[in-house]
């Protein structure tokens, strides 16, 4: 007897749908957790960037009026006169020696007066949440505990914050030096890492043959992307700061910055970060180049194009969006790096702008790190403001890269 067996199926559509729904909820939950974490981060930063501050002046600025001309309206010469009468001659001469007053702008002298004479001091600070929730209570506290203090709603991030240089007085401190340092460093990083990385990717994808050596190189590039950044710092210290000191300090080019006697310069920092992001750029560029359809290459070769003509006219333009995505990732990584820069010797306190690749420097993450490690409360608020600046810088650099990418990925 050859009876057809019966194949029984269970009616399980309901349970299949249920399990689908469960997974959907799980994924939704993970997204929500992520969003909550980001919101908490942002809240935390904003909470410390704005709020009521009670501050006292050692010398009331109104008392510094000269012949009835208030401080704001005084000329540079008048301001210098005020400064000279208010601080010791020794201190005045030291300022003159640091940078002659003839070379300082009116604004700089004005800042000096606030720095050395008025000396605002924050006596109490409230974060944004408290400032919004219980302003009456805060006002009462200030009136009771600090009768001479002024209470103001302060935004720690401001145009002045961006304009001012580092200062030991939190009320006067700004991120200008660090911001410029970050911009210089990232510019050098991009200039070095982008062409090198894309070039290496083109070679590995288009020219290198598939032998064990090239496979080894490819594998190792992938591994390099995962090496902790401080290792790159040590590498940078050994190569750029020490071995290539003549180059990175600018001595080789006859460029001698009196403030730097060694290779701890922006150039060293930029090149170290370039090393750090190079694997990232290579890997992404390789992926992008590999994703260019083979039919396109065939079309080009079929016309009698050489390899280079094919790469230049077809492979690269079509891979460019992907390559730029890699560059965005690289910029994001490089701009937030602290550890390698600490190792190669970024300064934590400098008050002059970097003006060449051979300048001493500090960067925003270093500045933030330095501020958060100070015991005074005020510096935490400065750090929060600096974090906002760093985020804004990061977003604007990435926006440029995204715009470029969208421009080039205009599909025909």
């Amino acid at each position: 007897m050859n009876r057809k067996p019966v194949f029984q199926f269970k009616d399980n559509l309901a349970s299949r749908n249920r399990s689908g729904l469960t997974w959907r909820l799980v994924f939704q939950a993970s997204t929500i957790v992520g969003i909550l974490a980001l919101t908490a981060l942002l809240f935390n930063i904003l909470n410390q960037t704005f709020g009521y501050t009670a501050y006292e002046a050692r010398v009331d600025p109104d008392s510094l009026a000269l012949n009835g001309v208030s401080l704001e309206e005084q000329t540079k010469a008048q301001l210098i006169q005020v400064l000279q009468t208010r601080i010791s001659s020794g201190a005045f001469n030291k300022l003159e020696k640091d940078k002659p007053f003839a070379e300082r702008s009116r604004q700089e002298v004005y800042d000096l007066i606030y720095d050395r004479v008025v000396k605002y001091k924050a006596v109490a600070i409230w974060p944004l949440w408290d400032s919004l929730m219980r302003p009456a209570e805060i006002k009462q506290t200030v009136a009771q505990d600090f009768p001479t203090a002024k209470l103001g709603f302060v935004s720690w991030i401001s145009a002045d914050f961006l304009r001012r240089q580092q200062s030991s007085d939190p009320v006067l401190a700004g991120v200008r030096t660090a911001l410029l340092g970050s911009l210089w460093t990232i510019a050098i990083t991009i200039l070095a890492a982008f062409p090198l990385g894309v070039g290496a990717a083109i070679y590995l994808e288009e020219y290198a043959s598939d032998n064990w050596l090239n496979r080894l190189i490819r594998t190792n590039i992938n591994n390099l992307a995962g090496v902790p950044s401080i290792i790159y710092g040590i590498l940078g210290l050994a190569i750029f700061v020490r071995t290539l000191e003549k180059v990175t300090s600018g001595a080789l080019f006859g460029f001698v910055d009196p403030t730097t006697a060694n290779g701890r310069t922006i150039l060293s920092a930029g090149l170290t970060l370039a090393l750090l992001v190079l694997p990232l750029i290579i890997i992404n560029a390789q992926e992008a180049i590999r994703a260019v359809p083979v039919s396109l290459r065939r079309a080009s070769y079929g016309l009698g194009a050489t390899k280079w003509q094919t790469v230049w006219a077809h492979v690269l333009p079509n891979a460019l969006p992907g390559i730029l995505t890699g560059a965005i990732l690289a910029i994001s990584r490089a701009i937030g790096e602290t550890a390698p820069l600490v190792v190669i010797g970024a300064s934590t306190y400098i008050t002059f702008d970097p003006n060449s690749p051979f300048s001493k420097f500090t960067t925003l993450p270093i500045q933030i790190y330095q501020w958060t490690s100070r015991p005074q409360d005020e510096f935490r608020f400065l750090a929060a403001a600096a974090i906002l600046v760093l985020l804004a810088l990061l977003l604007s650099l990435n926006a440029v890269a995204v715009l470029l990418r969208n421009r080039f990925s205009r599909r025909w």
């Binding site: 065939r298 079309a299 080009s300 079929g302 016309l303 009698g304 599909r411 025909w412």
Partner: protein, 264 residues
């Protein structure tokens, strides 16, 4: 490439004892074939018998796949394409190619045509060359008002004719077509066939096709390929003759079976 030995000979391409290898695998064995000038030669045969491999060996496109090798000779106007001093780039310039799937560059229609001419150092009037090439490919009337639009915005059949125009723009002597109509509808296919008929006045065409009617309609000569049935499963040419003979009174039983649709 050196001066053509006999650019007016009867045969543009003479394939002599050609075998093609992928690594150790011999994909095509010992093919002898003469391609006559200004004629259409079709290569037919079942899937996987090495038709496309043979075609690509005719302009050294097969070398883009790592590990390929050939033995034997392909004479182009009497000159061996596989001689050591011959640059494959030069070969592909003289012997153009149209692929199975239309693959226009993601550029404008104009640029699709102009790019090839430009890389070969064309210095004349580019507009003229673009119009001439598009007219030759019977596409001019359809695209003359949208030359700056993307080549990818055209229909499949138009894209394939754009690819033919692109190949024509560098003035090759031979055009290799690898199943150029296999992804097109019957109407577009017919257009391509009419176009081939026009083009053979100025060019020599070698076409690989799965479509028996297409070979019968469009070609002057037909080469029949088949796996040789041995251990190695290598493809070889079993019969070559005028198309009318191949389709009416083939000498080989296998050819007869294939063209009449009994197997294949």
């Amino acid at each position: 490439m050196a001066q053509p030995v006999s650019s007016n000979g009867k045969y543009v391409l003479e394939v002599k004892n050609l075998s093609v290898f992928y690594g150790d695998f011999e994909a095509v064995t010992n093919v002898n074939l003469n391609i006559e000038r200004n004629k259409i030669t079709a290569i037919i045969g079942p899937s996987g018998c090495g038709k496309s491999t043979l075609l690509r060996a005719l302009n050294r496109m097969n070398e883009l796949v790592p590990g390929t090798g050939v033995s034997g000779e392909v004479l182009f106007n009497g000159q061996n394409l596989y001689a050591s001093h011959v640059d494959p780039v030069e070969v592909r310039y003289r012997i153009g190619m149209v692929f199975q799937k239309p693959n226009p560059f993601p550029k404008s229609i104009y640029e699709n045509i102009a790019w090839g001419a430009r890389i070969h150092g064309y210095k004349g009037n580019m507009d003229e060359l673009v119009e001439f090439s598009l007219r030759q490919a019977a596409l001019w009337e359809e695209v003359k008002d949208k030359l700056d639009q993307s080549g990818l915005a055209l229909s499949g059949g138009q894209q394939q004719r754009l690819c033919i125009a692109r190949a024509l723009a560098v003035q090759p002597q031979v055009i290799l077509m690898d199943e150029p109509a296999s992804s097109l509808d019957p109407l577009a296919t017919l257009k391509i066939e009419e176009l081939m008929h026009e083009l053979k006045k100025n060019y020599t065409i070698v076409i690989v096709t799965h479509n028996m009617q297409q070979a019968a309609r469009a070609s002057d000569y037909t080469a029949m390929m088949m796996l040789n049935g041995g251990e190695t499963r290598s493809g070889t040419m079993i019969e070559f003759n005028q198309t009318s003979i191949i389709f009416t009174r083939p000498k080989d039983k296998r050819t007869e079976g294939y063209v009449t649709g009994r197997f294949g």
